[in-house]
C-alpha cells in the first residue's frame, strides 16, 4: 500500500505547475468487523476503504478535495488528474488565506509493522469458544491501517500497522455487565481466555442485590476506563490553542492561572508511546512528547498548522481540530493492591458514560456510572450499585479532592470507528477521589 500511495503521489506531482504545491493525505483501512449479541453473530463483514485528500496551493490560496480511491492504479491516477482540474478551477475563485502555513523543510518518516493478525477462522473460533454459555455482547475490529503524507516539496511520510481490538461486555441482567477489552497486534487465545475468566469473576459480584445510592458526596475510585471518559470529554475542545485563545476551552481558568489541579497531575500528548502517526495533514511532525499540564498547572497547548499561522506559534503537528491523539497522564504513588483499602468506604467506578459539560466555564461536567460499579465497605467490594449521575468540576475531581493516582497506568486504545478505525489512544492511571458529587 505504501508503494501504491507513493506512486500515485509521484504521478500527481508531475501534473503540477511550477507555481503550484500539492499536498496529499492518505487514510486507508482493510477492516474485518464482527458484532455479537448473546454470544452470537449479529453482523459480520469486510470493509476496504482508501481515502485521499488532495490539497492544491498556489501563492496563499489553497483548497482541498477528498476522494475515495478504488485501488486500481490507472483509474485512481485518472481521478486524481480530474480532481486537479477541479481544484484549479476552485482556486481561481478564492481569496488569499492569511493563515496558510506549509512545512517547507521535508521531514520524511516511516513506521511499518508486519501483519501478524489471525485468520478469520482463528479469531472467530477463539471468540466462539470463549463466549460459550455467556451473554456476551461485543465488537471485533481488525486489519490494516494506513496513513500517508506526501508533498511536492519532497516530503514522504508513511504509517502502517495491523491491529485488532475486541471490545465486549458480559451481561448478568438488565444494565448489569462487566466491560472488557483486548487489543494489540499479536492475537493470543490464552490472553483472551484469561481476560474472559477475569470478567466472569466480576460477573459473580454483579449477582449480589443492587444497592441504590442516594444523591450526595461520596469517596470514589475511578478506574482507568472511567477516567478515560473524563479525558475523552476534555479532549473535545480543551487542549487546542484556538479554543484556549477564544476562551471556549473548558479549562480556560486553568490556562489563565485562576485555577489549578492537584500537583500530582502531569498530562502530556505522548506521541512516542501512543498508537497514532507522528505527522499531520500539512506535513508537520509531532514532537515525541508535548507537556500540557505540569504539577497541576497549564504549560502547553496543541497547535495546528492553521492556528500556528493565526497566533504566530510553532505548529505542534496537531490535527486541524487540535484534539489530542495520544494523551498520557502520569501515574502516582497509589499501589493497585491498596486501592480498595484506601477507598475504604465508597464507590468503585469501573466505567462512566455519556459525559458532557453542565457548566463549561467552571469545567463542571456530568455523566453516568455504567457497567460494573460497586459499593465498597471496609475495603471490600460489597454489591453493585444502581446507575447514578454525577455532576462535579474537574478542579475538584482532579484538584482539591484528588487523594492520589495509581502507580500503574493502563493503555486504552480508542475503539472509535466513526468514518474510519481510530489510531488514538490514552494512557491513564486510576484515581482515588475524596469527594464526588452524585445528583440523580
Amino acid at each position: 500500500m505504501r508503494d501504491y500511495f507513493f506512486d500515485l503521489a509521484q504521478s500527481w506531482e508531475r501534473l503540477l505547475a511550477r507555481d503550484e504545491v500539492g499536498l496529499l493525505n492518505f487514510a486507508g483501512e482493510s477492516s474485518d468487523f464482527c458484532r455479537l449479541n448473546g454470544a452470537k453473530v449479529r453482523q459480520i463483514g469486510l470493509v476496504i476503504h482508501y481515502r485521499m485528500q488532495l490539497r492544491l496551493v498556489k501563492g496563499r490560496k489553497h483548497t482541498a478535495l477528498q476522494l475515495t480511491l478504488c485501488g486500481e492504479a490507472d483509474q485512481d491516477r485518472e481521478r486524481m488528474r480530474t480532481a486537479l482540474t477541479q481544484l484549479r478551477s476552485s482556486l481561481a475563485m478564492l481569496p488569499d488565506d492569511p493563515y496558510l502555513i506549509l512545512n517547507q523543510i521535508p521531514q520524511s518518516s516511516e513506521t511499518m509493522q508486519a501483519n501478524r493478525l489471525p485468520a478469520l477462522e482463528e479469531w472467530t473460533d477463539s471468540i466462539r469458544t470463549a463466549a460459550q454459555g455467556l451473554d456476551l455482547v461485543g465488537f471485533f475490529a481488525a486489519g490494516g491501517l494506513y496513513r500517508g503524507f506526501a508533498n511536492s516539496l519532497g516530503q514522504r511520510n508513511w504509517f502502517e500497522n495491523y491491529s485488532f481490538n475486541f471490545d465486549w461486555s458480559l451481561y448478568h441482567q438488565g444494565d448489569k455487565a462487566v466491560k472488557s477489552q483486548y487489543g494489540g497486534f499479536d492475537w493470543d487465545q490464552q490472553v483472551l481466555a484469561a481476560k474472559m475468566s477475569a470478567a466472569r469473576e466480576q460477573l459473580a459480584v454483579l449477582r449480589q442485590p443492587v444497592r441504590r445510592i442516594e444523591p450526595g458526596t461520596y469517596r470514589v475510585y475511578l478506574a482507568p476506563a472511567a477516567l478515560h471518559e473524563i479525558m475523552s470529554l476534555l479532549q473535545w475542545r480543551s487542549f487546542g490553542i484556538k479554543n484556549q485563545r477564544t476562551k471556549a476551552s473548558p479549562i480556560s481558568h486553568l490556562v489563565s492561572g485562576e485555577s489549578q489541579l492537584s500537583p500530582e497531575i502531569f498530562l502530556s500528548e505522548d506521541v512516542a508511546n501512543g498508537l497514532a502517526p507522528d505527522f499531520d495533514s500539512f506535513g508537520f511532525r509531532k514532537p515525541p512528547q508535548l507537556r500540557l499540564i505540569h504539577e497541576g498547572r497549564h504549560v502547553g497547548a496543541l497547535v495546528s498548522a492553521r492556528s500556528g499561522a493565526e497566533y504566530g506559534l510553532l505548529p505542534s503537528g496537531s490535527s486541524e481540530d487540535e484534539q489530542p491523539e495520544s494523551l498520557a497522564l502520569e501515574g502516582g504513588q497509589l499501589q493497585a493492591s491498596q486501592v480498595l483499602k484506601e477507598l475504604d468506604q465508597g464507590l468503585y467506578i469501573n466505567n462512566l458514560w455519556y459525559m458532557n459539560f453542565s457548566d463549561s466555564t467552571s469545567c463542571r461536567m456530568t455523566g453516568m456510572t455504567r457497567f460494573a460499579c460497586f459499593w465498597v465497605e471496609q475495603g471490600h467490594i460489597v454489591q453493585p450499585i444502581e446507575v447514578m449521575r454525577f455532576d462535579d468540576s474537574l478542579y475538584r475531581i482532579l484538584g482539591e479532592h484528588l487523594v492520589g493516582l495509581t502507580e500503574d497506568t493502563e493503555m486504552i486504545p480508542s475503539h472509535s470507528t466513526y468514518e474510519a478505525r481510530s489510531t488514538d489512544s490514552c494512557r491513564l492511571p486510576g484515581a482515588l477521589i475524596k469527594e464526588m458529587r452524585l445528583t440523580l
Binding site: I48, H49, C70, G174, T366, V387
Partner: protein, 480 residues
C-alpha cells in the same frame, strides 16, 4: 457507472446463495465557513462505493468496496459469502430471503434552488456579511463563525429478489455561533446549534431566516454575558423546538429502537428502559403526547421512501395519546422481537451495514398558542437551544443544558438567565407534559450527527416539534 449492468454481471452468483443485494452509495459533501471575517479553506468530499450483502445457509455477511468494477464487486461478494457461510448456525437469527421484501421505486428530495447553481463567491459573501453582523466591532466577541454544509447522497439498491430502489437526498445545514467573553465569563449563542438542517437546496436558507438571524444572535450573546445564573428549583419548564428535538431524540427516539430492546447495542450505545411487554399498554407520557415516525414530511432532514433494507416507509404513530404503540426497528428486528416497527433500518454510507435508527421522529402539534402557555405559568423557565446532553445507557436518567433561557413569572416572560440546565427521568418526565403548542409554535429541525452502532455510524435524523410545557422539573444553573 451502470449499476444495473454491474448487478447483472453478478447474477450468475445468485445460485450459490439464498439472497444477495448491492447497495451503491455516491456521496458529495461541501463545507464553506467564514470565521472572524476570514474564509476557511473550502473542503469537499467525493465518495462512492458499494456494500454487497449475502444470505447463505442461514448466515449473513457483507463486503464493502470502492472498486466498482466487476472484479471488485466479485471480491466483495466472495468476502460476504465466506462470512455468511462461516457464521451459519452462529447468528442471532436465521437469515433467509423471506426477511426481505421486493420493492421498486424512487425518492428524490424536493430542491427549488440547487446548491451547485449558487456561485461560491455568493456563499462566501453571505457568510462574510453574517460575520460582520455577529461581531459589529465589539471586542467582547472573541470568536464568531458562520458556515454552510451541503451533502448529496445518491443510493441505488438492487437485490436478487428483483428490488430496484433509487433515492437521492440533498441536505443543507447552515450554522452560526458567537462566543463572547468579559471579566472571566464566557458565553456562546448559536443558530440552533447544528439542529437547523433540512432536505432541499439553497432556498432552505430563506425558509429558516438564516440571513436575518445574526443580529439576534449578537444581542442574545450580550444578554447572556451580563445575565445572572439560572436559579435552582423545581418549576414549570417551557421548551422551545430547538431543545425539544434533543428531548425527543434522547428520551423517546433512542429508547424505542428495537435493536436496543433486543440487546444489540448493549456494548456501546446502550440498552433501553422500554421492554417488549410495554408495547400497546405503557403510558409513556400524558395523553397530550403524540409521537410519529414520519418519513413523508417534505423537507424534513430524514425523509425517504424506503429504508436501506429496501422496505417501503410510511407515517406511523409510535406513541398515541400517550400510549406506546410501536418501536423503531426494520423488518429483521420486527421478526426477531415480534414487535410492531417501521422502515428504519438505515446505514450512513456504503461502508456500514443498516441498523435500527431514528429517521423523522416528530411530536404532533397540539392546540396551545405560545402566549397561552406562558400565561399559564406562575413560576417557570423558558429554555432554548441545546448545548449539553447526557443520559444513562437505558435512556432514563437525563440531564440537559441550553444556551439561553428566560424566567417566567406570573404568566409573563421575565429576565434572561445563563447556564440553564434541567434533569429528570424519561419514564416520569413525559407524564408531566401539560401543554403542547400548536403548529405556529413549532419548527422542523434535526441533527446531522446521531451516533450509534458497531462499527460506529453518525447518521442524519429529523425532528419536528412544537413548543411544549412540562410541570415539576428540577432546574439549575452553573457556578461561575
Amino acid at each position: 457507472m451502470d449499476t444495473k449492468a454491474l448487478f447483472a454481471s453478478l447474477e450468475s452468483m445468485a445460485r450459490t446463495v439464498d439472497y444477495f443485494e448491492l447497495r451503491f452509495v455516491n456521496r458529495f459533501q461541501e463545507n464553506v465557513a467564514v470565521r472572524q471575517g476570514v474564509l476557511e479553506p473550502p473542503s469537499r468530499i467525493e465518495d462512492q462505493g458499494c456494500m454487497v450483502t449475502v444470505y447463505a445457509q442461514g448466515g449473513s455477511g457483507y463486503g464493502a468496496t470502492a472498486d466498482l468494477s466487476h472484479k471488485g464487486l466479485m471480491k466483495a461478494f466472495e468476502a460476504a459469502r465466506e462470512r455468511a457461510l462461516y457464521t451459519q448456525n452462529w447468528t442471532v437469527w436465521p437469515f433467509t430471503a423471506d426477511l426481505v421484501s421486493r420493492e421498486q421505486g424512487h425518492f428524490h428530495s424536493t430542491v427549488r434552488r440547487a446548491w451547485r447553481t449558487v456561485p461560491l463567491a455568493d456563499k462566501v459573501a453571505l457568510l462574510e456579511g453574517l460575520n460582520r453582523k455577529l461581531h459589529q466591532g465589539d471586542p467582547r466577541f472573541v470568536d464568531y463563525v458562520a458556515g454552510l454544509q451541503y451533502r448529496r447522497l445518491e443510493m441505488r439498491l438492487l437485490s436478487s429478489l428483483g428490488s430496484d430502489i433509487e433515492q437521492s437526498f440533498d441536505m443543507v445545514t447552515p450554522h452560526m455561533v458567537a462566543t463572547v467573553h468579559n471579566q472571566g465569563v464566557t458565553e456562546m449563542r448559536s443558530f440552533g446549534g447544528y439542529g437547523v438542517c433540512r432536505q432541499g437546496g439553497f432556498e432552505i436558507l430563506d425558509e429558516v431566516s438564516f440571513a436575518n438571524s445574526a443580529e439576534r444572535i449578537h444581542e442574545e450573546a450580550l444578554e447572556l454575558l451580563h445575565a445572572p445564573n439560572c436559579p435552582t428549583g423545581v418549576m414549570d419548564l417551557l421548551l422551545a423546538p430547538d431543545q425539544m428535538i434533543l428531548q425527543i431524540h434522547e428520551s423517546i427516539g433512542h429508547p424505542l429502537e428495537i435493536d436496543r430492546i433486543l440487546g444489540d447495542e448493549r456494548n456501546y450505545a446502550g440498552t433501553s428502559f422500554v421492554t417488549p411487554e410495554m408495547f400497546g399498554r405503557y403510558q409513556y407520557g400524558s395523553d397530550l403526547l403524540n409521537v410519529t415516525f414520519d418519513p413523508e414530511l417534505e423537507g424534513e432532514f430524514a425523509s425517504y421512501a424506503f429504508d436501506d433494507a429496501g422496505t417501503r416507509a410510511k407515517k406511523t404513530y409510535l406513541i398515541k395519546d400517550g400510549v406506546l404503540v410501536a418501536g423503531l426497528g426494520g423488518q429483521l428486528s420486527q421478526r426477531r422481537s415480534g414487535l410492531p416497527g417501521v422502515a428504519s433500518a438505515r446505514s450512513v454510507s456504503w461502508n456500514r451495514p443498516p441498523i435500527d435508527r431514528m429517521a423523522n421522529i416528530n411530536i404532533e402539534p397540539g392546540d396551545a398558542s405560545f402566549g397561552d402557555m406562558v400565561a399559564g405559568v406562575e413560576r417557570g423557565i423558558y429554555m432554548q437551544t441545546n448545548c449539553s446532553w447526557s443520559i444513562d445507557d437505558s435512556r432514563n436518567k437525563f440531564q440537559f443544558g441550553c444556551e439561553y433561557a428566560r424566567l417566567i413569572e406570573n404568566g409573563r416572560l421575565g429576565p434572561v438567565v445563563r447556564k440553564p440546565n434541567y434533569r429528570g427521568i424519561s419514564a416520569s418526565f413525559w407524564r408531566n407534559l401539560i401543554r403542547v403548542g400548536d403548529s405556529t409554535t413549532g419548527d422542523v429541525l434535526g441533527t446531522p450527527y446521531c451516533g450509534k452502532g458497531e462499527p460506529n455510524q453518525a447518521i442524519a435524523v429529523g425532528h419536528a416539534s412544537p413548543t411544549c410545557l412540562f410541570s415539576q422539573v428540577a432546574v439549575f444553573g452553573g457556578e461561575g
